[in-house]
Every structure is written in C-alpha cells, then in structure tokens.
Symmetry: C2
Subunit: 400 residues, 2 copies
C-alpha cells in the first residue's frame, strides 16, 4: 500500500489482517488518540477478547503552533528500529513492536493504556518509587551497549549510519541550542519574565557553555540516544515504566538523555510553585523530586559501571583511571544538557505543562524564573561539576 | 564489467576508451607501479602526445607482512569521493579525478610522476619551502568546510553517512590505539629497544592518555579527515604539494590529520641520526624540520581562523571565547595524535623508511629511542598543551 494517512476504517482493516494479534472473530473498535501534530495514533481493541494494539503512523509534516513543517517519514523507521533495539538491550522498558510497515510509516505496538504519561502523573502529585531504578537501568543498558564500550566498534559505525537523523536533530539544534539565546521569532515566553529573558540573550558566559554543549550534540557520536527523553515520552504506573516515542533517536552524547530526565524532573520541581499550595507539602514533594534526580543518576551510574566491568569490549578502556574520567564526563554533560533543556522550555518554542498550565501568570512567572535560574546555573556549572549533589544544591538554592 | 583485477592489456583498453583523455591515434604504454599490497596502480602514457593518467584499482585484500587481510572494495569509492570533495574545497592540492568506476573499484586520475613521495624527498635531505603553506591550507580548508562550522549541519550528517569507513578505521584503531601498548603479536620492533618497549607496555599514565585519544578517534565526528596523512601520502616538488590516497577518509577529530603531518616530520627528525653524519649539518636540517612543524601549525591555524571569520555558518560558534577554546582543542588533539603516530611507527606493525632503512641496528635503535621518547612526551603533554612551541621544545630535548 503506498503512503497515505489511514482512515479509521482502513486502520481497522489493517489491524484485522495482522497475523497472530487478534482472534478470527474479533470485533475491532478504533479510536484515534494522537494529538494530530506529528502522527496519527490508532487505539484498536477487540471488544470480545479485550486484546488491543496501538498503530502509530507518521505524518509527513509537523504542526507546531499553527505552522506546518515538512518532516521525513523515515523517522517512523528510526523510531521502530530504535524501539526494537532498546527492547533487545533492556526488555520490559519499552513498548513491544509487533510490526513495522515502511511504506505506510506505520508501527504496530503494544497498547499501554493502563499507563499514564509521567508528566501528567507528576502534575497530579503522584510518586513513582520505581521510576529512578527503571530509567537508570534503561539509560545504562541502551547507552552502554550501543557505544564503543559495549559493542563491536565496526558494527557500531554501521549502526551510526542507520540512525543518521538530520531533520529531527535540526529541531533540537535550533530549539534547544540556538533560539533561546537570541531574540528569535521561534521563541515564546511569558511577557512577565521579559527582563530575565533579555538577560539570557546578553549572557556571553552562558552562550559559551551552550556553544560547547551544542558542539558536543553535533559531533560526539557516543551512543544511540533516545533523543527526546522527557517525562512526556515516558508511560508510567507505580510498578512499570515504559520509554516511548524515540523518533529523535541518533548517535550523540550520553549526557543528553540523562540530562533530559533530570531537566524534566526539575521543571516539575519549579512548577510546584503553582500546584501544591501548602508550603510544607510542596517542600516535601520537591524533596521527592530531588531524591529522584539523585537516584536517577545513582541508578544510571551504578548500572553503567557494572556493565563496564562485565561487558567492556575495549581493552584500552580498562586502563586504570579511564572509567572515572568517563563517568565524570557523562555527569558534566548531563548537567549541561539538563540546563539547556530547562531554559528552552521556558523561553523557546515548546513548553511543558508542568509550568505552562499554571493559570495565574504571576505564579507562572515565579515558577519560570525558578526554572530559568536553575537551568542557567546548571549550564554554567557543567564543565566544573564533580557530583550530582551540586545539582540538588542549585535546585534548593533557587526554590527557597 | 564485473570486478576482477585488470591485466596490463585490459588496463590499456580501458584507458583508450576513456572519453577526452587520449587522442584517437594514441600509442598507449602501460606500467604497473603499485607496491601490490593494497592496490594495482597503472601508469598509462601516450608515447606520441605525452598525455598520461594513473588508474588505481583496489584489490579485495591487503598483504601486510605476508598475511592477507580481506578489505572492502568500497574504499575505492571513499577515496575517489574524498579526492573530488577535497579538490572542490581546495583546488590544486590533490590529484584530479577524471573518472571512477564503481564496479571495478577503479579511479582514473591525474598523473603526478613529476612529483616524488615526500618521505623519500626528506630522507634524501631535500627541503620543501612551500610544504607547510600548502598542507596547512589543505587541512584548514578540508577540515573547516566539512565540519559543522563550515557546512550545512544537516548536509554534514548525510556526508558522515557516505564516509562511514569501518574496515579502514579498524586498522587505525588496532595498529595505532591498541597494539603498541601491549605485547601484541602485531607488534614489530628492533630487539635492541626491547627494554624501552616493555616500559611502554607498563606505563599506565601513558595508556590513560591513549585511551582518551582512542575515544576521540572513535566518537568525535568533527570533520572529514584524510585519515592517513603521513609523508608517504604526499607527492611533492619544491613548487607543488599533492595529498594522495585518502582511502582512510572518515569523519573524525581534526587533530588526527594535523598530528599525522607533525608526527611524520618528527619521525624524519629522529631518523636523521642515521642519515646526516655531520653534526652541524644534521642539526641544521633538524632545525628546518622543526621550523616546518611550527609553520604547519601556523599556516593551518591562520587559515582556519580566517575561514572561521569569513564563512562560519553556526551563529553560536561566534560566541566570544569559543573560537579560542576550539583552536586549543585542535592543538591538543594534534599533539596527542602526533605522539600516538610516532610510537606506532617504532613499536607497531608498520614502520617508516626514515628510520627503518637505517642499516646499522645500533644507530637505528638510537633514532627509534629518540622517536619513542618524543612520542611518549607528546602523548603525556596533550591535554595540558598551550602552544606548538612545547612540541618543538620536546623534540629538541630528546635529540640532544
């Protein structure tokens, strides 16, 4: 079937013909549940057996604030290949892919309707005691085993080739590593923080660090990244965590994924200004978020070191002292990228609901200022950082 | 024509049929002038008009010290595409490619028989007053315009894909960044320096630096490198310099190319122990070599900075302070890679004639020890280096 966006009827017919998913006598029901910006997302369920799948079809454009950007359908291939690779490296932490249709840019995958989007869960004040363990393990396994440390170094080069992803990378390069630091028409911010934003545009010490982080994003092909690992790309329950939507997957610096997780926990942390009114309760939830930041790094780094000791394929990487330098580099990148990802969510094109849905503009401005201050401080810290505790201290300092 | 290695007769027939190179009534003469290890190289000349070309055909294996390694024919495509790209960025400094035949892995290119291999020229004591200017310009232009600084950053990612080169990179990874630092069966060294070599195997401070440089080679996709820019890959006359044989081309750290040039000048410098008997004359030629090292860096960096000012496509790269940090990183990488390339030519599988053809094993051991000491010192200096003058000082120190 040549590419066209599927109608609901076509989606049902397509699903009914998939081998081994639905019984012969299935009574399939379909709902389109995507946000319609980038993809169609069909939820298809057999009302008799209860069996269900998700079919995600890439659209050839992206609608962002009304504008329509053409976008390659190849991102569907990248997403489905990344999901399958991640599942093979780290079973249970991504949705299972049943099938991929290159022509239709369509992925058939596990239905996770019993999970909710983590961002929503955090805004509702839920806690996820297993999240840090799960995401730490996910990042350690996917990053280690796709890097020159954990896989054949010639096969890695072929894998780099498979995951060359220029169009999606460009979105990151512009929206994270450029626009927020100049008066770009792509920017979008609360007029109440205009003064703070203008300071950002003039802060050359900050720009220097961002230029270095941008360089790392552009050139350091360390591992296959998820590439967009914010809390909106994580489906969660108290018992289960699933990383979804890796259409930004490409070979880049490991700290970019870890930084995304840290940044989004801290964005929620800043946003609590608008959600929990009681100061004591707010402070307690914030403590939970900071503990989670610490634990994400802790689980990641312990898992990563364990894999290093067990499965390192690079003789030279066993040189005494090298692993410690490597872990420090990941930490520093994590902190720098976390900062960039916070700043862009306040000043740049795409925001986060944790802060943007705070109704009172004054309260929102306060939350935004907290996030901006933490983000800037992390960016300025990055090359000097020695411990994740410095991140916690910065977050505490600006949310007093 | 499906792949097979061409006979002399076939080579003539092939050349005669090339459009626009030889006249109708040409009387073509052929000689096979390759070393037979990796490629066939046919020199084809019309004895009437004097017109001539080189036809280089890749062989599907490499013969290195008797062993036969299978090697991809795709390296011929990489070489011809790299040559054409380099010529477009920097005319006059590489042989012109007339045609490329993918099936036969055959490149038809400009005949440079009036040039000699620079390594040979230096061993004979020749000086090349324009070399530093030429190679500095070549490296600045090819590295700048294939990097995220000098070309569209999305097109660069597609170019990275075209130049993924796992097999040739593996040779570098093993022979430069691994074998020399352990008792590998690939190693090959003068028994008279066995003690020095064993020290190298135990020197963990050195191994740590090599591990970091290896990581940079494996992951830092900064620019399209020549990938093997030693003085045996340079055809030269006092007026003209041509960089040849870029079959190792791939996206890597810029300092790797510059380091290759520096290392090979310094290997000749060490080798002078065996060539110029008169101490005064030897010291004078060595001064010329050190001046050339200084000038190579000087021409490279001045050209590179000029291109940066004129043609930088990255807004963030114009941040004050960034360019200086970038140049310092290139300098440090240059020094580290130069050191690695010196050590591997003394201890590893493939040596250089500048040292290896010194007949007296004692004199050779002396030259080898000088090269090894300079190489180790450069490797240990790399992350701390501030100026090319430190390289000169190290070279002078060990050749006293």
């Amino acid at each position: 079937m040549s590419y066209h966006s599927l109608s609901l009827e076509e989606a049902i017919r397509y699903a009914a013909n998939l081998p081994g998913i639905f019984p012969e006598n299935a009574d399939l029901q379909v709902r389109e549940i995507g946000d319609g910006n980038l993809n169609l997302v069909f939820h298809i369920k057999d009302s008799r057996s209860g069996a269900s799948v998700i079919m995600k079809q890439a659209l050839p454009y992206a609608k962002v604030v009304g504008e329509s950007w053409p976008l390659t359908l190849d991102r569907a291939r990248i997403e489905s290949e990344a999901l399958q690779l991640q599942e093979s490296l780290c079973p249970g932490l991504v949705p299972h892919v049943y099938a991929f249709d290159q022509e239709l840019a369509l992925t058939v995958m596990e239905d996770l309707s019993d999970h909710i989007i983590m961002r929503k869960g955090l805004i509702e004040g839920n806690r996820y005691p297993l999240f840090a363990e799960h995401v730490g393990k996910f990042m350690a396994h996917t990053l280690f085993y796709t890097s020159d440390l954990g896989m054949n170094q010639q096969a890695k080069k072929q894998q780099v080739k498979r995951f060359v992803n220029p169009e999606l990378c460009k979105i990151t390069e512009d929206l994270i590593f450029d626009d927020p630091y100049t008066d770009s028409s792509n920017n979008n911010y609360n007029p109440l923080i205009r003064e703070e934003v203008e300071k950002l545009w003039r802060d050359e010490e900050l720009h220097l660090e961002v230029a270095l982080l941008r360089e790392s994003f552009l050139t350091h092909a360390e591992a296959l990244l998820h590439g967009d690992l914010h809390t909106g790309s994580i489906f969660i329950t108290p018992e289960s965590t699933k990383m979804i939507d890796p259409e930004f997957a490409y070979y880049g610096p490991m700290g970019f994924d870890i930084g995304a997780v840290v940044a989004n926990l801290l964005l929620n942390y800043a946003g609590q200004e608008g959600w929990i009114k009681d100061a004591g309760q707010r402070s307690e939830f914030r403590q939970y978020l900071l503990d989670t930041v610490r634990d994400v790094w802790g689980h990641f780094s312990r898992n990563f070191v364990q894999l290093w000791e067990r499965d390192n394929v690079d003789r030279m990487a066993r040189t005494p002292g090298y692993r410690d330098l490597y872990m420090k580099k990941i930490l520093r990148d994590t902190i720098g990228f976390a900062g960039c990802k916070m700043v862009r969510r306040i000043v740049g094109l795409a925001h986060v609901a944790d802060i943007d849905t705070i109704a009172d503009p004054q309260v929102r401005a306060h939350a935004e200022t907290i996030a901006l201050n933490i983000g800037k401080a992390l960016i300025k810290l990055n090359r000097k950082a020695e411990s994740i505790e410095e991140v916690i201290a910065i977050a505490e300092q600006y949310a007093k």
